[in-house]
């Protein structure tokens, strides 16, 4: 058996697939769930014959037919709203937005209907759907293709906002998102779509939503991040270890509803927290994390909570995007600052 990208599958009993990228893991999860639940359908721009501009849906039209893998007209508001209508009928649509920069036309549907349908009908109708979109900078993309505006969605009651940061978590979290009976905004960090590979067990096992993942245990400081920034955060933790600083690294993954418990337990242990995200600082999800720690763990803190984020500017075009994105050294410096206190 071959996955769409052609890598070989190791023994069938383990169902482990080696060298899987994050975007391939997305494809594997979609294929698994379509195979096992006929209500799962895909819709979006260029997702059928072309397999998506990032190839996340490659091979799925051939396998499941155009009836279940649908190219839509070029209208994001329509994609968001059509998925809602489908979902009220018991389908489990997974709608792809080509880039987060184009998702905004669909936000009225997401906020005013998808997020509210269960509540406003007192459970009569609900929206088991997933809105997928690649997001974030660092791939030399054109204007409007590099922003990280996850906070816009995290602010909306009724939406779950999930961001994977590794192939394994992409597979397990996407399965969980599709099976979730409520709407999930699933944001895929495209900078790491192909940056790392992992062995992924194609066994249909979903991960839990609404929980953070502790990627590395430590004693001196808690590094809290999500999405592509997890890469730099882990690298910073390595560097800090060389300096004798033991950093705990937490991937928030589901930024809303936020698993504060895991974050607070970690900060109670380390006494220090540094939050890292690509999105601009003002009103970012990092602010909610910092406020939660200040409210509930103030007496555990040995230093102020510090954020390492993008600037409150328009995301620069790609010649300057690295100047905007948080770098490993920025994280290390921030940790040195809170350790020194």
């Amino acid at each position: 058996m071959n996955t769409p990208s052609g890598q070989t599958v190791t023994p069938p009993e383990s169902r482990a697939v080696n060298n899987v990228t994050l975007v391939e893991a997305v494809n594997m999860a979609l294929a698994w769930e379509m195979e096992h639940d006929e209500n799962v359908v895909l819709l979006g721009e260029d997702i059928a014959t072309n397999g998506g501009v990032f190839r996340a849906t490659v091979g799925l039209k051939e396998r499941f037919g155009y009836r279940r893998v649908m190219d839509t007209p070029l209208a994001e508001n329509l994609i968001a709203g059509t998925a809602i209508g489908m979902a009220t009928q018991g389908l489990r649509p997974v709608a792809e937005f080509q880039f987060m920069g184009f998702i905004y036309a669909g936000m009225e549907q997401m906020i005013s209907h998808a997020a509210r349908m269960r509540n406003r009908t007192r459970g009569r109708l609900h929206c088991p759907l997933v809105y997928r979109a690649p997001f974030g900078g660092g791939i030399h993309a054109p204007e409007h293709h590099s922003e990280s505006t996850e906070a816009l969605f995290a602010h909306v009651p009724g939406l779950r906002v999930v961001i994977p940061s590794s192939p394994q978590r992409a597979y397990g979290l996407l399965l969980a998102a599709i099976r979730n009976p409520d709407p999930v905004v699933f944001l895929e960090p495209k900078r790491i779509y192909r940056a790392v590979t992992q062995s992924v067990a194609d066994d249909g096992e979903a991960l839990r939503l609404d929980t953070c993942f502790t990627l590395r245990e430590g004693e001196d400081v808690t590094l809290i991040s999500w999405g592509a920034s997890i890469l730099e955060t882990l690298q910073a933790a390595d560097k800090l270890a060389e300096q004798g600083v033991s950093a705990e690294v937490i991937d928030v993954a589901t930024i809303s509803p936020l698993d504060r418990e895991t974050l607070l337990c970690s900060v109670a242990k380390t006494g220090r927290a540094v939050i890292v995200h690509e999105a601009c600082r003002n009103g970012g999800v990092g602010a909610e994390v910092a406020a939660s720690i200040a409210e509930a763990a103030f007496l555990d803190l040995q230093a102020p909570v510090v954020r390492v984020t993008g600037y409150d500017t328009i995301m620069p075009y790609y010649r300057n995007e690295q100047a905007y994105l948080p770098q490993v050294d920025d994280i290390v410096e921030a940790v040195e600052q809170v350790i020194a206190l």
């Binding site: 649908m70 508001n77 059509t82 809602i84 489908m86 109708l125 936020l258």
Partner: protein, 364 residues
């Protein structure tokens, strides 16, 4: 130069303003029971409407959009849709909701600020009232897509106002309905007004129906106050949808005889003369005259119907006013299927505050 395409938009009307047939009526006119049932529903709707406005004026109901003058269109939709079809409304479809099985008490609860007003028990698949303009059009094509994907011979009727046809939601949805060959009927309730903005400002197109042509769909104009014209058009469009022949757009031309909502004052932008002229074309009175002229209705029956409708509405109002508010914890309980841990603390706080203040409503 070669002419590539030309289009035409038909317009239908069977009764004059007084309810006299202009010629031969469509076959539906032969079903007198159906016509009488339609008239009864229009009167019930108008009685409910007047009562709800009175409730709002006396502080017993929230802001409410009157359906005065639109009773024909909703009634036809309610009659023509099959039980297994799905209705996707805007917010002035009271006449259709009643025939779909939504109770008057549920409608009062919705406009009276209670989410249970959309928990419709008798038409569980119909979409709830859509307040953001035209957004429901996208849901309609989604529902119709589900029917197509599953190979079900069911159809969708979606209502939208004339103002709503200026929005992308409408245009994108009729476009998809054409491209995907979906079993959906869009009924544009052209009541001439989007709050204070007249139809002429929405578009310079001669008809709204012709917007369908650009989506590859048939578009048809009907006199929206003419029961037979609307019935024929909706029946034909639904037959087309059920038969796998695709979507269509019907522009039902009517007039908003009331204010936009109880929060509006139409005298600020609309002349008394225009309103007086519109009343002369009222679809309810027109059908009443027709039934009277054809020997199917008399003043005694009218008196009885008015009394029956008043009683039905009064009972619904009584049930509405007697309904205890939900406990405030309901705001959390229907947000997700299962309450996330992140919200458990907030739920407990809502419950504690409610108890501490001796709150009423069901138990928390």
């Amino acid at each position: 130069m070669r002419q590539r395409h030309e289009f035409h938009v038909d317009s239908t009307r069977y009764l004059d303003d007084r309810g006299k047939p202009l010629g031969e009526l469509p076959p539906q006119a032969g079903d007198v029971d159906r016509v009488l049932a339609a008239y009864r529903n229009m009167v019930l709707t108008r009685t409910f409407d007047a009562k709800t406005i009175a409730l709002q004026r006396t502080g017993k109901c929230g802001t409410y959009p009157s359906v005065l003058g639109h009773e024909v269109i909703g009634t036809v939709i309610g009659q023509s849709l099959k039980k297994t079809d799905v209705f996707v409304p805007y917010y002035r479809d009271q006449a259709a909701h009643i025939l779909r099985g939504v109770s008057l008490t549920e409608l009062l609860l919705y406009w009276g600020g209670d989410e249970r007003g959309s928990a419709w028990k008798n038409c569980p698949e119909d979409l709830p009232i859509a307040v953001p303009i035209a957004t429901q059009c996208c849901h309609a094509v989604g529902v119709a897509s589900a029917f197509r994907i599953r190979g079900e011979k069911r159809a969708v009727v979606c209502c939208v106002g004339d103002g709503g046809t200026s929005k992308g939601d409408f245009l994108e949805s009729i476009n998809l309905a054409g491209a995907w060959h979906l079993p959906v009927v869009f009924v544009v309730v052209n009541n001439q007004w989007a709050i204070s903005t007249p139809r002429s400002v929405q578009s310079s197109a001669d008809t709204i129906a012709q917007k369908a042509i650009g989506a590859g769909l048939p578009g048809h104009v009907v006199d929206g106050n003419d029961y037979f014209a609307v019935t024929e058009a909706v029946d034909q469009a639904l037959e087309r949808a059920h038969g796998g022949k695709g979507a269509s757009v019907i522009e039902a031309v009517t007039y908003r005889l009331g204010d936009h909502t109880t929060a509006d004052d139409a005298t600020r932008y609309r002349s008394a003369d225009a309103l007086k002229k519109a009343w002369e074309k009222d679809g309810l009175k027109r059908l009443q005259n027709y039934l009277h002229d054809t020997g199917n209705w008399n003043p005694e029956q009218e008196k009885q119907l008015q009394a029956d409708c008043k009683q039905t509405v009064d009972q619904a109002v009584e049930a509405y006013l007697a309904t205890e508010p939900e406990p405030p914890t309901a705001m959390v309980d229907y947000l997700f299927e299962t309450l996330p841990v992140a919200l458990q603390g907030q739920r407990a706080r809502i419950a504690d505050k409610h108890r501490a203040r001796g709150g009423q409503g069901g138990s928390v």
